[in-house]
């Protein structure tokens, strides 16, 4: 992300890359012999080289995929908005009297004034309304298409239409005819020549128009306006639907090309015109701004790509650790030859250069492969998004694109990531005792009283404390808790002097882990999404330390528990002892595995809880009803169905509760937000009747228990007292404790029981309401109050919100459609709760699965790492294998030995990741999901499935290498090596 902001242009990454390559190449030419050795080192073991390349390229692939996904979404945003806006740049509409409808003569001068501004191409008024629609032939109908009444000028100025076959249409349909866009035609199976019926209730009278479809237009330019299902007709025809031949409600403004380059000042000029004293009374405002929407869309996309970056960063971190592991092992493998090189006169700096040149070659190649793999991965992801999300006819894959800047940035990031990490590792590799290196004698264990370790511990402690204070002074949770964690981990290096390694690292690890545990809140600051990465890295590090320094105990317990028989006792002993000997590489492998499994487990926990929680939330929202329905015009649904049911069989309907819902603004002073004196929010005002709480199940989360003895009393009081209100559960905002991640779940955040909120009437007056209770459910948002108050304060009149319970086993989705069709003129929109729940769960799980699949790249890192370790460990222990074979290990025992050794590391990593993932899942639940009414649960099935796949993949990678080990000839290795 930092790179993205620092290097906005294509030139910056290209220059940095070229300079780095040039610098290394010049140095390589000056040290040609070293460079030659490095090249030969790269090609001397093709198998190892292939594994190294695979391991190194994963980080780049993740960066590349994320950038390309971002490019594609950006392309989609711009493309979709271009379609939705046609040639228009601004839409202006009003909230004046008569529902924002204005007579043409009243507003014609405004469009003329705007057309006079330099940079404005056109300004045309049009009418946008809605009604029910039915296709006579197919008998399909929907309640809410957008209907556009246009003038000839508007059609020309706003880009015109394109027919299905791509022919431009620049005129309006003839009288009595309409155009429909592809989206609507698809839903209602409309063909050219079909007769459609538009009907709606206007002033309690049904208006009905029959029109012929003249063309089906592409979802492009005017055809794509608002991105919805649209009908286009002559302004006069459209005006029949609102009962007045002179009214319009939208002004579309198009800019010239120059104007589009800098639309900000033009917007200001337009605003100054519509807010000028001559027009202020019309209460016009800019309701759509192409540039602004593109910017907002990009912001939304950047949040989405941030999510990929955040989750992907776990894999990138795992990739960095793998690079360290790979090069540390390459260093160990070549220790003897490096010792000889030092003995014959090579400097340490020469040895470092050997590895830097080698790393340079790897970085050049792996960054290219990684970038390309990322490109393919992004393509797969984009297509998967299309499959996972219910996008209807929308084809996201057509927007797949990538910019040269992104490709260069991905390459540069991958290249630098590799080369910088390798540069860091070479320092340690080149630091050796020449005699020990030549004779391949293991490095001595660092003694307790090692001064270097103590000094390093003190410096790290100091660094951690400094970072913590930076965090405290900035009131930022990341550095504060991260700094404290560095300090507690550093304690291990200090106290080992007094208590030995096992106790020191166990204490340091457990203390660090404790900082992140549920219920522990050290710093009362907010965090953000990055906290997830910081928490993950520190928790996995801490538990890896504890497990590593107690792995001998774990191994002993395992051996005892598994009741190993016969010669395999010896195999267990040797297999479980080796990882403890090479603690550094074991810890790194465990960390890689742990980190990746941690992320996937956490995501599984989240998707598992949401998968169960969302249907539950929706069930709570429904209050036990099957369908929620909202109409534009009032309906006496109960009566109409019973007396003139039509297509609805009233015996299948068990209950209908009729409510009145309006829309209003509310003003209140939040208790928790000190920056704002008061807040104004738009919200639903829902008028209740006794049947809602008597026959529906809408539990209250919180109310004044001293005033009301039970929930029914609260509802009754609110129903009867126009000064009381019940708010939905979203007013109860929560922060994710521990992680500091906060979720603002409702605009009434900060309101408490007993507080007053002000409801602003449509007539200009206001009304004070006291908050009597909060509901459990938060999905069906609204301020619940007396029906009379809603009627008097908003424009709602009669019943327009319905809770419908069907007889058991009735097809909910079918009745949902039937009800819509029955009340098409009233534009009834139905929400079948169970179908929505199913769809929502499928989409949530789909997105989580997508991110998990993305993260599975990290598993490749872990498994590649273990493969490399196994190969390395076989190579360095050939003589041991020979001896083992000589004293009686069968080939199968050798295979078991090496498989068990790698599996032990993988199992510990999986255990660490799974445990911490479940704990983090609990943290997320405790901090946010629980407030949303979601129960805590552990999604064992997907978690164990991922664990099993990880272990299985490990076995598949390790067993061939282990079989290779079993084929080692004892006579040869004991004699010649």
């Amino acid at each position: 992300m930092v790179l993205l902001t620092l290097l906005p242009s294509i030139f910056a990454p290209a220059i940095i890359l070229l300079l780095t390559i040039l610098f290394v190449l010049i140095d390589a030419i000056r040290n040609r012999i070293l460079f030659n050795i490095s090249i030969r080192n790269v090609i001397r073991r093709p198998g190892t080289t292939a594994l190294v390349l695979a391991g190194l390229m994963v980080g780049t692939a993740i960066i590349s995929a994320t950038l390309v996904v971002s490019d594609t979404f950006d392309n989609m945003i711009v493309g979709e908005i271009t379609e939705t806006y046609g040639e228009s740049d601004f839409f202006i509409k009003g909230s004046g009297e008569n529902n924002g409808l204005y007579s043409i003569s009243e507003v014609e001068s405004i469009s003329e004034d705007i057309r006079g501004i330099h940079g404005i191409q056109s300004a045309d008024w049009f009418l946008r309304t809605s009604s029910g629609i039915t296709n006579k032939r197919s008998e399909l109908g929907i309640p809410d298409p957008s209907i556009f009444g246009l003038s000839d000028d508007a059609v020309k100025n706003l880009g015109g239409f394109k027919s299905h076959s791509g022919i431009s249409i620049e005129n309006l349909p003839s009288a009595g005819h309409v155009y429909v866009n592809e989206k609507l035609a698809h839903v209602l199976d409309i063909e050219v020549g079909d007769i459609i019926t538009l009907n709606k209730i206007l002033n309690y009278e049904e208006v009905r128009l029959e029109l012929i479809v003249e063309a089906v237009v592409a979802n492009h330019a005017l055809g794509g306006l608002t991105g919805g299902r649209n009908i286009y007709l002559d302004m006069d025809d459209a005006q029949q639907l609102i009962g007045d031949q002179d009214l319009v409600n939208y002004l579309a403004v198009a800019l010239t090309n120059d104007g589009r380059n800098d639309p900000g000042p033009l917007r200001n000029t337009i605003e100054s015109i519509i807010e000028s004293p001559s027009y202020a009374a019309l209460k016009l405002e800019i309701s759509g701004d192409r540039a602004q929407i593109i910017e907002d869309g990009r912001e939304g996309v950047s949040m989405f790509t941030s999510l990929f970056f955040v989750f992907g960063s776990f894999s990138i971190i795992a990739g960095i650790v793998l690079i360290i592991n790979i090069f540390t092992m390459l260093g160990e493998e070549r220790k003897s030859e490096m010792g000889i090189s030092r003995a014959v006169g090579m400097q340490r700096s020469h040895l470092r250069k050997l590895f830097i040149y080698e790393g340079f070659i790897y970085a050049l190649v792996t960054a290219a492969i990684g970038t390309f793999v990322g490109l393919l991965l992004a393509y797969g992801l984009i297509n998967a998004v299309g499959m996972v999300m219910d996008l209807g006819t929308f084809d996201i894959s057509k927007y797949f694109t990538f910019t040269t800047t992104s490709i260069l940035l991905a390459y540069l990031a991958g290249f630098l990531l590799t080369i910088v990490t390798i540069y860091g590792v070479t320092r340690r590799i080149s630091n050796m005792n020449i005699v020990r290196a030549i004779r391949n004698i293991p490095e001595p264990i660092r003694p307790r009283n090692d001064k270097k370790a103590l000094l390093l511990g003190l410096l790290s402690l100091l660094f951690g404390v400094l970072v913590m204070f930076v965090g405290v002074s900035a009131e930022s949770l990341g550095p504060a808790l991260g700094g404290l964690s560095i300090a507690t981990i550093s304690m291990g290096l200090i106290i080992r002097r007094f208590v030995g390694d096992r106790i020191a690292w166990t204490v340091a690890g457990l203390t660090t882990l404790l900082l992140w545990m549920p219920g522990v809140e050290i710093f009362p600051y907010d965090g953000n999404l990055e906290m997830f990465v910081i928490a993950g890295v520190f928790m996995v590090t801490a538990l890896s330390m504890v497990v590593m320094f107690n792995s001998d105990l774990i191994a002993a317990v395992l051996t005892r528990l598994l009741r190993v028989k016969n010669g395999y006792k010896a195999v267990f002993k040797t297999a479980l002892s080796y990882p403890q000997r090479v603690r550094g590489r074991t810890a790194m492998s465990m960390f890689i595995f742990g980190l990746v499994i941690f992320t996937i487990t956490t995501l599984s926990m989240m998707s598992g809880m949401l998968g169960v929680g969302i249907p539950k939330m929706l069930e709570e929202t429904s209050g036990g009803f099957d369908i929620i329905a909202i109409s534009s015009a009032p309906i006496d649904m109960r009566n109409e169905i019973e007396t003139a049911g039509g297509i609805i069989d009233s015996t299948n309907i068990e209950d209908i509760i009729q409510l009145t819902m309006g829309y209003s603004t509310f003003t209140f002073s939040p208790l928790t937000d000190n920056d704002e004196a008061s807040k104004e929010v738009y919200y639903n005002a829902i008028g209740i009747e006794s049947s809602l709480y008597e026959r529906g199940h809408y539990p209250l989360a919180n109310w004044n228990h001293t005033k009301y003895s039970n929930e029914k009393d609260v509802w009754l009081a609110v129903q009867q007292d126009p000064t009381l209100v019940i708010l939905d559960g979203s007013a109860n905002s929560n922060e994710m404790s521990g992680t500091g991640i906060s979720i603002n779940v409702g605009p009434f955040h900060g309101v408490a029981i007993g507080d007053q909120i002000i409801m602003n009437n449509s007539t200009g007056g206001s009304h004070a309401l006291t908050v009597a209770a909060f509901m459990e459910q938060s999905a069906f948002s609204g301020a619940y109050m007396s029906k009379e108050l809603v009627k008097s304060s908003t424009e709602a009149d009669g019943s327009n919100l319905f809770m419908i319970k069907l007889v058991d086993d009735t097809d909910v989705e079918k009745y949902s459609v039937l009800l819509q069709n029955r009340f098409l003129p009233q534009q009834l929109i139905t929400i079948p709760i169970s179908a929505i729940a199913k769809e929502a769960v499928s989409q949530v799980n789909g997105i989580f699965d997508l991110i998990k699949a993305f993260l599975a790249m990290g598993l490749i890192i872990g498994i590649t790492g273990l493969g490399i370790i196994t190969m390395r460990s076989i190579h360095e222990r050939r003589i041991e294998i020979g001896m083992m074979r000589a004293i009686g290990y069968t080939k199968r025992m050798i295979v078991t030995n090496f498989t068990l050794e790698s599996s032990f590391v993988a199992v510990l990593g999986v255990f660490i990741g799974t445990t911490l993932g479940i704990i983090t899942g609990y943290l997320l639940w405790d901090g946010g999901f629980s407030a949303m009414g979601i129960d805590f649960m552990i999604a064992w099935k997907p978690i164990l499935l991922v664990d099993a796949i990880a272990l299985l993949a490990t076995l598949v990678t390790v067993i061939p290498a282990a079989r290779g080990a079993s084929r080692v000839s004892p006579a040869e290795v004991l004699r010649f090596e």
């Binding site: 001595p444 003589i879 074979r885 009686g888 080939k891 004991l974 004699r975």
Partner: protein, 237 residues
């Protein structure tokens, strides 16, 4: 009674285009409880002979019988199990597992053959006691001296009370004093346990302390000298 018998043993190595005849039709018999040294110049085939006789290397042709069983006809698994129960090995560079303690290294062959853990540990302790290292039982190889490591290797070789102990340059990495101690230890164990010791060595002093010396030259047995009268070991030839 012959415990090791080989007839017309041939071993040919193929290294690229070069063919090396390491053993050129060896006939050899070693008696049970005998302590035999195999000597000769570098490259004469001493270690190859030991590897072939012990079954850790395959022969090109010929026949090997150990305790009356034909090793050359056995499958790899059978040969491995036979080695585990009837043979012990001592190597020049000890080849102890660095991750295990001295006592764990000694008990390893016992565990391989399915001895219960408790019994294996007791036996390993007593073997370390026998080689004078019981006080170093919990040390890892890295913290033992060369002589101590070789004692651990000898204890490990004796763990399953093998009929034959193969030793390839057991004193090659040791100073004179330690070397003498190690050979004396092997001699004592040979006398006490009546186990057959076959030792490959360059050191004439080691050979002199054996019952018999077999001299090799260019893949053949050049001659054999009997020290048993000098040694007064009473071993059966």
């Amino acid at each position: 009674m012959a415990i090791i018998k080989c007839e017309n043993l041939v071993k040919v190595y193929q290294t690229g285009t070069i063919t090396v005849e390491a053993l050129r039709g060896i006939d050899l018999t070693i008696g049970s409880g005998e302590m035999v040294a195999i000597m000769g110049p570098s490259g004469c085939g001493k270690t190859t002979l030991l590897n072939c006789l012990s079954g850790i290397d395959n022969v090109t042709s010929g026949k090997i019988c150990i305790e009356g069983r034909e090793l050359t006809q056995m499958s790899d698994t059978k040969k491995t199990n036979f080695r585990a129960t009837r043979m012990g090995f001592i190597f020049q560079f000890y080849n102890l597992l660095p991750v295990l303690t001295a006592v764990e290294n000694v008990e390893l062959p016992l565990l391989i053959t399915g001895t219960p853990s408790g019994d294996a540990r007791k036996k390993a302790q007593s073997l370390l006691d026998a080689v004078g290292l019981s006080h170093r039982a919990q040390q890892r190889p890295a913290s033992l001296s060369g002589g101590e490591r070789q004692r651990v290797t000898i204890a490990r070789a004796l763990a399953n009370a093998p009929a034959i102990v193969w030793a390839d340059e057991p004193t090659g990495d040791l100073d004179k004093k330690t070397s003498d101690e190690i050979v004396a230890l092997m001699r004592r164990l040979n006398n006490e346990n009546k186990q057959t010791f076959v030792i490959v060595t360059h050191d004439p002093e080691v050979g002199a302390k054996c019952d018999r010396i077999i001299y090799m030259q260019d893949g053949n047995i050049a001659n054999s000298s009997d020290n048993s009268n000098d040694m007064s070991s009473g071993n059966e030839l």
